[in-house]
């Protein structure tokens, strides 16, 4: 080190070192944090895209009843009204993600978690649900019932 260096140049050298070391420390921190944050994100898993599922024979579905059908990895509620009409909706409550059920006594689709109610067209009619349930298409082919996405 040159003993003749002026205080200003010594200060600027010090500043330079401060930035280099500080920057290095930041970069080191980021290079440690980045893989950890990325690791914590669950990987996207290839979901099997389901476009329709076979429910079973029509005569096995009672009138005035509701059943939960597995549609890919989502639950769908299939309702057969007292008049024998078939309707299907996403069974996931639009409020906070619970699975709904058909209430014969009230004639509505009901969510037990926060007392949300939908009519048999899937419209949110009482309680906290903010949106109607998504509708699915029900097709009867021969004796069997099929569900498919309503596109």
């Amino acid at each position: 080190m040159n003993e003749q260096t002026s205080p200003e140049s010594r200060n600027s050298k010090r500043d330079f070192l401060k930035y280099v070391l500080g920057g290095g420390l930041l970069a080191w921190f980021a290079s440690v944090a980045y893989p950890i944050v990325e690791y914590l994100k669950p990987p996207q898993q290839g979901e099997v895209e389901v476009s329709s599922v076979k429910v079973g024979p029509l005569n096995a579905i009672e009138k005035d009843s509701g059943t939960i059908i597995r549609f890919g990895n989502k639950p769908v509620i299939l309702i057969r009204t007292a008049a024998g009409e078939l309707r299907a909706f996403s069974a996931t409550c639009t409020h906070l993600d619970c699975t709904v059920q058909y209430r014969k006594d009230m004639g509505v689709i009901w969510c037990a978690c926060h007392n949300g109610r939908y009519d048999l067209n899937g419209r949110n009619v009482a309680g906290p649900p903010p949106r109607p349930l998504d509708e699915f298409r029900v097709v009867v082919q021969g004796a069997d019932v099929f569900l498919s996405k309503n596109i």
């Binding site: 939960i68 639950p75 906070l96 993600d97 619970c98 059920q101 978690c113 926060h114 007392n115 906290p128």
Partner: protein
Amino acid sequence: MSTLWKKTYDWIDERVHLGDLVEFMGKKYVPVHRGSVWYYFGGVSLFLFIIQVLTGILLLLYYKGSEGLAFESIQFIMSKVAFGWLVRSIHSWSANLFILAAVVHMFSVFFEKSYRSPREITWLTGMLMLFLGLGFGFSGYLLPWNELAFFATKVGTDIAGVVPIVGKPIMVFLRGGEDVTGATLTRFYGFHVAVLPGIFTVLLGIHLLLVQRQGMSEPLDVEKAGAAERKTMPFFPNFLLRDLLFWLLILNLLAILAVFFPWELGKKADAFASAPAGIQPEWYFLFMFETLKLFPAKVWFLDGEVLGVMLFGVAAILWLLVPFWDRKSARGEKNRAINYVGLAAVLYIIIFSILGWFM
């Protein structure tokens, strides 16, 4: 025997100077006044936390944290392992009593304004531990992988997802994916037995260290009274023995609860079943649950649940930061407004918990 004890003591004393510590503890006094009884609830919370750690370690020896095995492994603990039913019931009951004791402790500190300067950090660490305690309760609730826990976790994590912008990534992080699945169970298991205990232990260390360093807080009027009127009691052995007696009573209470009201296991979770009628969260979440139930679907342009969740979030932050906005208590003046705020909160929690329980 006594010479062996003396020799051991001397051997350690020679190396780490126990004398200083003994002198410090000998000078430790606990203030005696009309509110002294509330001092015990911190100790009780600590005792229940220790029980949680011990019974939790015992449960770890048999519990299997995966979708296909969790429920069955707890069935195994409860039916095949000697005293397994007892260990699990104590863990569940003690968890509930811990929350209760910590809530009583927190409210007593709140009403006495013991959070005021210079004890802000003690309050902050305490509040964070209470939040972590709720996290322990929430994550532990899922581990048996039963029907109630499955839907409670769906709702609870969906609530996190409701928060604008940051909510969705937090929900995916908590669930280990878009939905509550076996991946969620594995994550919650990790949170419950490693992440939360680790953070909690650090906070507990700071909290206890500060209590030793600053001594017990006294109510404002007691603090202002002359030295002649202030009464104290030595910590060793007077207060400690009372503490231990209280702990013993709690241990008895726990044993009675665990034996006569063993914790139920319920039905195994099924992702393709409807939420059962009468579903409820643990009692300490009931008031929030009931509020969300009563909130209308839409308030102005916001979804009801978004508004509800945001209001609770803001309330929790304000509560956490009370030492910083209650300037009057910090100056040593009486602040009645805090009493009214606290009273309103207590009444709200009690009324909505009762409504939630019966509706």
